[in-house]
């Protein structure tokens, strides 16, 4: 009787762990998605910066803000794009860090789940015999 109670306890534990694991996996997938988006943006910004560098000083540059095109200084535009690239790079680095952390936690969870499963199996085997 005691063993069956322990078994139930373990199974409940296992379930909660499995839930936590699936949540972690969802987080990781989300992280991947966001990172992909940022990578694309970074590429685009670098392209823009390259083109801006190629323009002459007196070229007209506009920025689309909502429905209107606002004329911008070339130097200002360049500075803005550079800042944006910096920000995106920092963001990517941060995402890398969190991804690492999430993956570590995922592996830990996996280990603990495997251990729990083994425990349950041994308990069940012990119960079946006597």
């Amino acid at each position: 009787m005691a063993s069956s109670a322990a078994l139930r306890e373990l199974q409940r534990d296992l379930e909660s762990q499995a839930n936590a694991l699936s949540k972690l996996q969802k987080d990781i997938a989300k992280n991947h998605r966001v990172r992909k988006q940022y990578t694309i943006q970074l590429g685009e910004n670098e392209l823009v910066l390259k083109e801006l560098e190629l323009l002459n000083e007196n070229a007209n540059v506009y920025k689309l803000i909502g429905p209107v095109l606002v004329k911008q200084d070339l130097a200002e535009a360049k500075a803005n794009v550079r800042k944006r690239i910096e920000y995106i790079s920092a963001e990517l680095k941060r995402l890398d860090g969190t991804l690492q952390d999430l993956e570590d936690r995922q592996n830990n969870k996996k280990d603990s789940i495997v251990k729990l499963q083994q425990k349950i199996q041994t308990l069940q085997a012990g119960k079946a015999k006597p």
Partner: protein, 346 residues
């Protein structure tokens, strides 16, 4: 020697079930389909881009063009396109610039180049994935038809002086013949290798200095014979060969993984097993070891290769043999080498 040599025979089926291999192959094929879709998309961009370049090139030929101006989404009205040499080009991220037709074409061409680079990298990725799926398929087929793998530790005790200097031998073409005959011919193979080694050593002594190292392991009997003085350079040689092999194996097997996982640098480890298994473990978990074994045997289904490790170099060698290292015990001060034989036999 024959009675001390022991080998293990494992059927591929028991190592790795065909269903699992099929499943893996299917997963890789899905990934390939995704990449193909992406490639089609990029190709579409590329053709759009070249069409646009064409249009921009011929627009300034005329002072004005008669066109139909879209009026909302439903209606058109006749109109005229003027200022045909002035373009407002979207650079990306909401930035626009005033450009002439010529400058616009330059921008578009740069963009086309970036797209082409993307297409190329995507193609390379797809090629890797295709290789991977081919590998999984062949593995599954081999497992299904009951291929077995025979592994033997090759330990030599007779003419020790030959080996004490560290010799690397790898003879896939030779071994391929004997592999078909199977284990009983092991003695004969060994005798032939020994004869060859003796011969090579004699040549070496006559030559004096040169340490014969044949880099091309695939189509020739490869051997390094060296006297004790040149041990250091010999060891360097050996490690180079091993790292070369490791790298080539990884490029066959590992690259597809490294696309999905983090890229793994090729490790110059002489112990191929260790290195590859370690890498595989995170990608295919419990079947990692099996995968590798099958990998080695499918790759060398009929080409057994004999690789000798200089003992000082390979302290972490995974010893499957039940035989203790007699050679090193009898002469511990010198780097003693031994043979290791891998065979895949149908």
């Amino acid at each position: 020697m024959g009675d001390t040599a022991k080998g293990t025979i494992t059927s591929l089926d028991s190592l790795f079930s065909p269903e699992e291999a099929w499943k893996a192959a299917r997963r890789v094929e899905d990934a390939i389909a995704d990449r193909r879709k992406e490639l089609d998309r990029l190709r579409g961009f590329l053709s759009d881009n070249s069409a646009l370049i064409h249009l921009v090139r011929k627009l300034p030929d005329e002072l004005s063009h008669d066109i139909m101006v879209p009026f909302g989404s439903a209606a058109f009205s006749p109109g005229r396109l003027i200022h045909t040499n002035e373009f407002l080009v979207l650079l990306g991220e909401g930035y626009y610039a005033d450009r002439t037709a010529k400058q616009t074409i330059e921008i578009l061409q740069r963009r086309g180049k970036a797209l082409e680079a993307q297409v190329d990298s995507l193609k390379a990725t797809m090629l890797d994935l295709q290789l991977e799926s081919k590998f999984f398929n062949s593995t599954a087929a081999e497992a299904a038809e009951g291929l077995v793998e025979i592994r033997e530790e090759y330990v030599e005790d007779t003419p020790k002086d030959v080996f004490e200097s560290g010799i690397s031998v790898s003879n896939p073409p030779d071994a391929s013949k004997e592999d078909n005959l199977g284990k009983p011919d092991e003695d004969e193979v060994h005798a032939r290798i020994m004869a060859k080694l003796d011969e090579l050593e004699k040549e070496e002594i006559e030559d004096g200095s040169a340490s014969g190292s044949d880099e091309d392991a695939e189509d020739s009997f490869q051997s390094n014979v060296d006297d004790d003085k040149n041990e250091a350079s010999e060891i360097a040689n050996l490690s180079m060969q091993f790292s070369g092999k490791a790298a080539s194996f990884q490029s066959d097997r590992e690259q597809p993984h490294s696309i999905e996982k983090s890229p793994l640098p090729p490790e110059p480890k002489e112990n191929l097993h260790q290195a590859s298994v370690l890498k595989l473990e995170d990608s295919s978990e419990n079947s990692a070891r099996q995968t590798f074994k099958i990998g080695s045997s499918s790759r060398r289904a009929f080409t057994g290769s004999i690789v000798e490790h200089s003992h000082g170099l390979a302290p972490i060698q995974s010893t499957k043999s039940t035989i203790p290292d007699q050679a090193s015990g009898s002469n511990p001060s010198k780097p003693v080498s031994r043979f290791k034989m891998q065979k895949g036999i149908r």
